[in-house]
């Protein structure tokens, strides 16, 4: 398994030379490599045991024994945080390759090579078990994406590419300082003095320092702010989101799919991987204002989306709102919210990635994305309309599809937090619910205008000329989805339904990791008065609700009426490092 993980991460990079000079060879080779990666990553993810924590760990020293005082590893591994995001990278790249099949006509070789490099970068980010390796992969995703946007994008591509790059880099350099500061601070207080960059070891040792009172909240807050700079830009959290609509709209379809589907997740993943486990006090202390920003982002994103006349721009703004939900879930700092936030990151990748792909397909056919140039497309393109409806319903959280599971858990978590201890935050929870309504409004309005009503298609030129006719048949009439396009969307649809009907399967694999990593932050967030409302042991902790539910039935069955104090650590640590005691015993 461990070697398999290493192979999976490096496979796209090794496949780069296979991508030949001619366009046909290039895209076939890219598809082959990405499909293999997808199968391997899927195999890894579905072999992940329920209740497992560290899985398929592959580690080797990076300094080759040169510096005994430095614990720098080339370490890869999966755990509950990354287990679903990891295969999602390959899945969306698979979609990205297929949607670019005809859309990329010049420089196809470079395009597919960059896509493969990007895939290695994304897989590496989620698999990295070392701070520096994480940052390395994180930054390394910037270069291919910069080129993808800047070369193959639309009219404003240069500006969009540069703005995207600089925003991300400026934030992530501060994150980098924060990560170094964590390692340095830890090394100087540990008796062994070893400078460790290993994420699990660092988490464990910092928790021990904190338990010993050597990691005061003031220090945590500084480092938290440094980390926040990069992750909040990446998420993006209001008001740091301004690069997002531009980059998403100007990027080629493949770029938008991956940007929305994967790259935005790195921010949220960073919160879960670093901020919450390593800086629990600061996370708990700053939760109110981060929740506020997330709620503002939800409403702002939704209202801005309502005002858009360009389909792609509308979906880009909807991303701002949706990612706001994920952050809302994380910083509700209770098991419901955390599970919901993490699940919603996967959901958003599937739904919004798919929506961008569909928009790309429409654009390929009509060479415009203006909402008012379309009408009644459901009649002309029934198959495309079917996928659009599915993705839209997933995006607005229709029960039975994946979006519902995620959003419901997030809102439940948020209400639980607000209801029990923080009446002041009730307004944020209500705003988030209002955001759901707005989301339904703008998405259904979009679908209604474009796919229903009178058939209205943009003016097209003669068949065969640019913008004229069907690009594949050369006929005057625009055709429905081809088999290739169905292949691009079908896997997304499959998972949208699967996660919708059986979220427990996916949640169960997150629980032990979430529990052990965020237990301290949750304990820090619970006010002391909460202990009076703690129900008797045994039936009560929401964490146990979720994990029991995961084993035995839908986790949504029993929610609420419990304090968010985590249960004593019940994680079954099958692989690798022991779980730390969360210091939150009854």
């Amino acid at each position: 398994m461990s070697t398999l993980l290493l192979i999976t991460v490096l496979l796209p990079l090794l496949g780069v030379p296979l991508v030949g000079e001619r366009r046909e060879n290039a895209r076939r080779a890219a598809l082959l490599v990405v499909t293999l990666t997808l199968l391997l990553s899927g195999y890894l993810a579905f072999s992940f045991p329920a209740g497992g924590r560290d899985f398929a760990v592959w580690e080797t020293s990076w300094t080759a024994g040169r510096f005994p005082g430095v614990d720098l590893r080339f370490g890869l591994g999966l755990d509950g945080l990354s287990v679903w995001l990891f295969p999602l990278c390959a899945l969306l790249t698979f979609t990205a390759v297929l949607v670019s099949w005809h859309a990329v006509d010049r420089g196809a070789t470079s395009f597919y090579r960059l896509l493969l490099v990007l895939l290695t970068g994304m897989l590496g980010v989620f698999a990295a078990r070392d701070v520096l390796l994480f940052y390395l992969f994180f930054e390394a995703t910037l270069i291919p994406l910069f080129f993808l946007i800047g070369i193959w994008g639309h009219e404003e591509r240069r500006y969009a590419a540069v703005k995207f790059f600089l925003f991300t880099l400026a934030g992530s350099l501060l994150t980098f300082l924060g990560l170094l500061a964590l390692a340095i601070y830890n090394a100087q207080l540990q008796p062994h003095g070893v400078l460790t960059f290993s994420i699990p070891r660092l988490t464990e040792e910092l928790a021990a320092l904190r338990a010993g009172g050597q990691f005061p909240p003031a220090v945590q807050m500084w480092i938290f702010l440094a980390l926040f700079a990069g992750f909040a830009v990446k998420v993006p959290l209001f008001p740091l989101h301004t690069w997002l609509p531009l980059a998403h709209v100007e990027a080629p379809t493949a770029g938008s799919v991956l940007l929305a589907g994967i790259l935005l997740k790195i921010g949220g993943y960073g919160f879960l991987r670093f901020s919450l486990p390593m800086l629990p006090d600061a996370a708990a202390a700053s939760a109110p204002w981060i929740l506020f920003l997330a709620a503002v982002g939800i409403i702002y994103g939704a209202l801005t989306a309502l005002a858009q006349s360009d389909i792609k721009r509308l979906i880009a703004y909807s991303s701002v709102a949706h990612l706001g939900y994920c952050v809302l879930g994380f910083f509700a700092l209770n098991p419901l919210g955390l599970h919901g936030g993490l699940l919603q990151m996967v959901n958003h990748g599937l739904a919004t990635g798919g929506l961008f792909a569909v928009v790309g397909m429409i654009y390929e056919r009509y060479h415009t994305r203006r909402i008012d140039s379309f009408g009644g497309l459901a009649r002309r393109l029934p198959l495309l309309a079917f996928f659009m409806f599915l993705l839209t319903f997933s995006s607005i959280g229709l029960p039975g599809l994946n979006g519902f599971a995620g959003e419901f858990l997030i809102l439940a978590g948020m209400f639980q937090r607000a209801w029990l201890f923080r009446p002041g935050e009730l307004a944020l929870a209500v705003a988030a619910v209002f955001g759901v309504v707005l989301a339904a409004w703008y998405m259904l309005q979009l679908v209604g205008r474009v796919f229903f009503g009178e058939l209205k298609e943009p003016e097209r030129n003669a068949p065969g000329s640019p913008g004229g006719g069907d690009p594949y048949t050369g006929q005057g009439r625009v055709g429905d989805l081809t088999a290739r396009e169905v292949f691009a969307l079908a896997p997304l649809g499959l998972f949208i339904v699967w996660i919708g009907v059986q979220p427990s399967y996916f949640l169960a694999r997150m629980t032990p990791t979430l529990q052990s990593l965020t237990g301290q932050a949750m304990a820090a967030a619970a006010p002391p008065a909460a202990s009076t409302t703690t129900p008797p042991e045994g039936r009560d902790s929401p964490l146990s609700v979720v994990s029991q539910g995961a084993a035995a039935g839908p986790p949504l069955a029993e929610i609420g009426y419990a304090s968010p104090r985590p249960a004593p650590n019940a994680a079954a640590s099958r692989h690798g490092l022991e779980t730390t005691d969360d210091g939150a015993g009854p």
Partner: protein, 518 residues
Amino acid sequence: MGTALQDMIPELILGMAAAACFLLGAFPPLRRGARGTAWCALIFAGAVAVVQTGWWQGVAAVEPWYAAFNALFRLLGPGLGMIVLASMRADAAGEQEAESAACLLSAALGVILAGGAGDLITLFLGLELISIASYILLYLDRDGPLPQESAGKYFFLSILSSAVLLYGLSYVYGLGGSLRLDRPVHAWADAAGMPGDPSLGAFAAVLVFAGLAFKIAAVPFHFYAPDVYQGTSHANAALLSVFPKAAGMAAVIKLLLATMVGWGGPFWQAVLAVAVLTMTVGNVIALWQTHLRRLLAYSSIAHAGFMLIGLTTAMTYRRPGDHPWDGAGAMLLYLIAYVIATAGAFAALSALRRGDRPVERLDDLRGLARSAAGTPRFVAWSLAAFMFSLAGIPPLAGFWGKLAVFFSALEVGASPSESPIRSRLLWLAVIGAINAAIGAAYYLRVVGALFFTEEDAGEGPQTAVVSPPAVVAVFVCLVLTLAIGVAPGGWFQAAHDASPTAARPTVEVSLGAASPAR
């Protein structure tokens, strides 16, 4: 002392070859031979330096860091010399070919001497070899008013800086009573053990740093760089941006960190201010540049600032090295990444030509990455890699340099101790990070010009690759940039071994004078 002579083979070869090239220049039929002579000398010197990498092991008389430092610069000198020589175009050098080659050889020799200097006089000699060689090189390009002006400017400012440095060195000798460079000298204890005046030590440190700040192009001694770079050729600009920087950093490390340990007292705060100003001025002004050599000149200023982060840290804080990123080691690692990327970028520019004139403005690079031929595309991709390396993006060499300097500052800045210098170094690191982001903006402009614009078809001549040796140099630099980026361990080790501060015992840190290490 046969052994001693053997150990000096690279220096001797370069020196003799430089003299030979100057002589060949006097005989017109033989002038053509100069370039070949220079190549042979550089390759041979480089090969001997590689073979002798471990010459010092087992020589008890020298401190390990000092010998490793020497070995590192022995590789840097001929290596950079070859890259710059490949960038010198045969036809562009014209009839001054012999003199150009000779100057290059003496500059390479200067780097080795500065890196290996065991006393003040050798160090000064090494620095002056570079300066004098560059005066001649700048004057060789004598057509047009701009080269004249830039050569004159460089000449007078350089003389001034040498004088200031020399004045400072006289204090070093006067206070320490020794010309030696390889061990700490106590400023305030004379031969009889009588305490001297500590303020004189700080005065000497200020003078030495001011003199060297010109060589490394640190603010406020940077004003010459953009004008001089703009007024000369790509190859000369390459020479000016890597050789004085390398030798100057070697001198800074040897004098301020290894010899004058604890002389400066609170002077480190001035170095901190210079570091901040240098980074900020270089990066911010570079944002407005459209001339490529001016842009790279400001970039070279900014990188001096990043390296000074390491110097600031090393002047305030030392602990026995159990990791590779102490202040001086960080400077060396950063220097290596910087010189490879910068020399590579200039080699790439000198490989190109647009019609009958060199590629000088950002617009000249337009659409290079989209040309039909493979070689221009290769040059474009390599240039992009150098830009990303200079911007510090992983997985390229420049990232590890940035990591090292930021780490060195954060080691104090993020430590749990209540040291009074803590917050200053913390802010130094933060300002450095912000500057790295600003810097990326102008590097991206170069990449954007290469990749994101269409070649303006039809109007004027297209940019083409004309110099195969320069392309080879670009290839070598690209391989090194990638190799260091992917497998940095050996380079960490080299920088760590050569760091005078890594192996020393802890020195107490204070806002005032630090007490000497021994």
